[in-house]
């Protein structure tokens, strides 16, 4: 890869990284109460059902939990307060997403660790390969190639 192309590739990579960072950090528009309730309800497992969240379930207990989440939001409880209250009531497994503390952090950290280590490995390997000396043809080699390219007259 020549220098301008390499520079262009770095600029492209920078733009992509910047785009991702801005996309994540950009403040989202204000959330309505019902959106807030739904977002939290999606995090909790419906205790009566198999594999459904409180937001998706049609059972009376799930409806009661959605109402309760709304009441707690109105009372000024934070998302973490509400999560803690439900974990206190039903246990850690009421959370559909693993917790981000204790052993649960492994579930998040290990895949990221694998990707990071893989990326570092690829980076190191590419750097090593790019440092290997390139073969440069000598004058003798060039003369040989020129000779071979010359038209041959057998007769």
């Amino acid at each position: 890869m020549n220098r301008p192309a390499r520079r262009l590739a770095w600029i492209g990579l920078g733009v992509i990284v910047l785009g991702i960072v801005v996309g994540i950090a950009w403040p989202s528009p204000a959330e309505s109460r019902s959106e807030h309730v739904r977002r939290l309800a999606l995090e909790f497992r419906c205790v009566d059902c198999e594999g459904l969240s409180v937001a998706e379930s049609a059972t009376a207990s799930a409806a009661e939990q959605r109402r309760d989440i709304g009441v707690r939001i109105d009372r000024g409880e934070t998302d973490d307060d509400i999560r803690s209250a439900y974990v206190e009531l039903f246990g850690e497994n009421v959370l559909l997403r693993p917790a981000t503390n204790g052993v649960g952090v492994l579930v998040w950290a290990l895949p990221i660790g694998v990707v990071l280590l893989g990326g570092i490995g690829i980076f190191v390997a590419l750097r090593r390969w790019s440092r290997q000396p390139r073969l440069v043809s000598t004058d003798d080699d060039d003369a040989l190639v020129a000779e071979l390219r010359m038209p041959h007259h057998d007769d």
């Binding site: 497992r45 205790v47 009566d48 059972t59 009376a60 207990s61 009661e64 939990q65 109402r67 309760d68 206190e88 009531l89 039903f90 246990g91 850690e92 497994n93 009421v94 492994l106 290990l110 660790g113 694998v114 280590l117 893989g118 570092i120 490995g121 190191v124 390997a125 090593r128």
Partner: protein, 181 residues
């Protein structure tokens, strides 16, 4: 180790090994097991406010000083129907014991179906609708039906069973409740 690649390979190997250990430990365990054990055992019973079919209100404070059996059920629930003869038999044997109260609370049912089931099945104990401002279904963190709790006279939850009760379980839970009174 001189080569960074070997370090990276070793690190990836360690991470994969951790994954394998976690997988091996968790294979065969029920991820919902945590949900199958009430976390309210040994804690004060939550407040509740229910409306009985005669229109009167039933609050936790009304039951203070008594051993209370709370049974969550539904008229359409098969295991609840299977449990019913046990409840009827136990209630008949203890109905004169004024220190024990039994309350049936439907979890997810229509008032009409509850009324009919209570009448047809001769539920002589208190059956109350859980439609008050404080939901007992959620306050007791119920996980299905039938599910029963025993509250001691001091207001502590001393027993909890998810699934149909047996006469022996009922006797044992009430005994524990009275002992903790």
């Amino acid at each position: 180790m001189k080569h960074p690649l070997r370090w990276a390979a070793l690190a990836v190997g360690v991470v994969v090994a951790i994954f394998a250990i976690i997988l091996a430990v968790n294979v065969g365990t029920d991820p919902r097991a945590d949900l199958n054990t009430s976390r309210l055992l040994g804690k004060p019973a939550p407040d509740f406010s229910l409306t009985k079919f005669d229109g009167t209100e039933l609050k936790r404070s009304d039951l203070a000083g008594k051993t209370v059996i709370i049974n969550f059920w539904n008229s359409w629930c098969r295991p609840c129907r299977d449990e019913l003869p046990v409840l009827q038999q136990w209630y008949r044997a203890h109905r004169t014991d004024e220190s024990v109260v039994m309350v049936g609370i439907p979890r997810d049912d229509s008032t009409r179906a509850i009324r009919q089931a209570a009448r047809d099945d001769q539920m002589s104990w208190a059956v109350a609708n859980d439609q008050g401002a404080k939901s007992a279904t959620l306050a007791f963190a119920t996980r299905g039906q039938p599910e029963s709790f025993v509250i001691s006279p001091r207001g502590i939850i001393v027993g909890s069973v998810l699934g149909p009760l047996t006469p022996a379980t009922m006797d044992q839970m009430v005994r524990v409740g009275k002992r903790n009174g």
